[in-house]
Symmetry: C2
């Protein structure tokens, strides 16, 4: 008998009717002879409302009490789904994060799961009961409620699948799988039947919103077979698996993009050893994520320009940090630009093939798109371009790498 | 340094602004040099909405999952109030029912508190922290969330005051104290400065909604000094205390009424030994509360009529039980009437005075009000009358027992 973990997001449990629909999907897995644990999010909108309450009271809320408030949304869904299962004759009970417990570190509002005590759950599954578990929440070592940060329910599901040694973890969502790129932008985008952990990890990190990055990282580490599929349509989704499960590997599997980027240029830096450290040290201390970095020497050879990207939400803070440390850095001025987008092509196939980057640069050049920065890793190439060109670039690259579907 | 428990109901924490108001009231007690624990209800309307969700899914919800859902309302308020306290510089943290724990029996949806482990709370209070605790919820012996039933937060507050050996338990509500009778009906009703536990218990049992009966019972048992006072006006309320704290005891302290009554007459019963048992046995087995009882012998001396009252909500079920057992009881017919009200005069003073009942009967007779049933105890007299006469009866009795205020 297989153990299946099913995870349903906020839209999938958005109202009572949808919770009933989820119950039927759970029942189908039970009737197929599986042991089933279900991870649920808060009903759509509920978490936002709870967050708004805390913000109304406090701009800088104590994250421990914030967690007490926002973790209730998932608790409600666990109870309601258990009731919906009872209604259609399925034995089920809810288990809260503190009841198992789901142990996390103590970083409230963005805690990381350390482990899940699954003995009680396993016993329940063996009794033939469906276990309904809240996503997003856990328990710190000092016995307080924690939450994992937005989108954390995917991670809860994968962690639970790992703890239960589940045969599969199905992430039900409002799309029917992982696409070669955003189908809202590229009509010829194709749904992938399979994708490797590594590719999925890069896709998620680089802007694809279908799975939370941390959940993919955890699935990769514990070799949890993940499936992304639709709550609302009954067909297979995309399997996230080991590389050796994919027989014919494409050069590029997908194209991701992230508008959440801003470019900062520190202009007129005195060019001397240690100057990069003087700039990036204070940013690192302020916990600001610096991504793409380019250093240019000016024509007179005496000053340098340092350009890098930060998440758009951290731009203001990055500029403040740089101004504060201006004396130590000795630069002339700061130039900021938030109208940029990072476009990335991803594929484990590029490990063994040359010319993948060249094809990207050429495709963009043909459309007259200027590349402002480049960064690469073994399985991805990212470029920074002007945000206005997002759609044009995605379509050009999708065609250039032969990803277009025949159908559209 | 005194320990004070403050309890705020759903209206008092009905929105963010009101939660801030509550925080200021808590701060005032802290600044007066007290150690403070606060018990809070769910924000007004929230529990009803959660209950509605469970009803939408299941007409006959598993009370264990129902408790998982409905207990979240109080949890949210504990977090929000803690945040509001932080905002005005008061150290505070929330403690959920399972964190202390608040131990209850396992009767979900109407659990009874068995005890509260108060060591952690006491330590927090000694550190100068305000402890914010949810009303209404607890933890069963098998580690599941329980709730106490509607209105249970008063009981939570009193149980917490008993566990902390608090100097006082202030129940903040939307009225400013306990009145001689309902001031919406009797303009001359007076607020009482003090009332005895026994009287308060009878008032609550007999229809006054200001405190939950079980909370008064618990306060009486543990000698918790209770105060009922207003969240919205800053003046002393009504103290519920031991009899010896009240110097000049009135004959009657208050007049309560309950419209939640229905009268059942089992007519044409064969008059024989054991007939009452044949009627009330099945009702008791069905867990129906029978209150006032009158037995009449018919004029021919062969049959008897048995009349009694039940809560209006149990009338339908009571009639069903009687019909089902008709063969064993041998009666001719059932007569039901829900248009009745129970009016009660209450006072420990009546223990030592004769003629208290007579004054009641006379006052009602003077207004032409027919008494349909009577029941008495050491400190109260209740009569059943037609519901149409409620207001008239209350005003007449209020005057007859000298309770009218001079002001109005």
């Amino acid at each position: 008998m297989a153990i299946i973990v099913q995870k349903f997001g906020g839209t999938s449990v958005g109202d009572v009717e949808r919770i009933r629909n989820v119950a039927r999907k759970v029942k189908a897995e039970v009737e197929a002879g599986n042991r089933v644990a279900v991870v649920v999010s808060a009903m759509a909108g509920v978490t936002n409302q709870l967050v708004a309450h805390t913000r109304d009271i406090s701009a800088d809320a104590d994250p421990r009490e914030y967690d007490v408030v926002v973790s209730t949304g998932e608790q409600v869904t666990t109870g309601l789904l258990s009731l919906a299962l009872h209604e259609i004759g399925v034995a089920a009970r809810s288990w809260q994060g503190w009841q198992l417990p789901i142990r996390t570190d103590g970083v409230h509002a963005k805690a990381r799961i350390e482990d899940i005590a699954a003995d009680d759950l396993t016993a329940a599954l063996l009794r033939g009961e469906v276990a309904v578990v809240p996503g997003f929440q856990g328990l710190s070592a000092d016995g307080r409620i924690t939450t994992l940060g937005r989108g954390g329910s995917d991670t809860s599901a994968v962690a639970l699948a790992a703890a239960l040694k589940a045969d599969r973890c199905d992430i039900y969502t409002d799309v029917d799988g992982v696409y070669t790129t955003d189908p809202r932008i590229v009509a010829k985008a194709r749904k992938l039947d399979k994708i490797t952990y590594e590719e999925m990890f890069e896709m998620a990190s680089l802007g694809a919103k279908v799975l939370q990055t941390r959940s993919v990282e955890m699935a990769m580490k514990h070799r949890v077979r993940l499936q992304v599929r639709s709550t609302f349509e009954d067909r297979p989704g995309t399997l996230v698996v080991d590389e050796d499960e994919i027989v014919e590997q494409e050069l590029v599997s997908g194209i991701a993009y992230s508008r959440d980027e801003a470019k900062v240029t520190v202009a007129g830096l005195q060019d001397r050893p240690g100057v990069a450290g003087a700039v990036f040290g204070p940013l690192a201390e302020a916990n600001i994520n610096v991504d793409m970095i380019i250093q240019n020497i000016s024509q007179d050879g005496k000053t340098a320009n340092l350009t890098f990207t930060v998440p758009e939400g951290e731009l203001r803070r990055a500029l403040d940090v740089l101004e504060t440390h201006k004396a130590g850095m000795r630069f002339e001025r700061l130039i900021a630009n938030a109208d940029v987008v990072k476009v990335s092509v991803i594929g484990v196939g590029m490990r063994s093939h040359a010319g993948v980057a060249q094809r990207m640069f050429q495709a963009l050049a043909e459309k007259g798109i200027n590349i402002q920065a480049i960064s690469t890793s073994e399985i991805k190439i990212s470029v920074l371009i002007a945000e206005d060109y997002t759609e044009l670039a995605l379509r050009a690259l999708h065609t250039a790498y032969g990803l277009d579907s025949d159908a559209a």
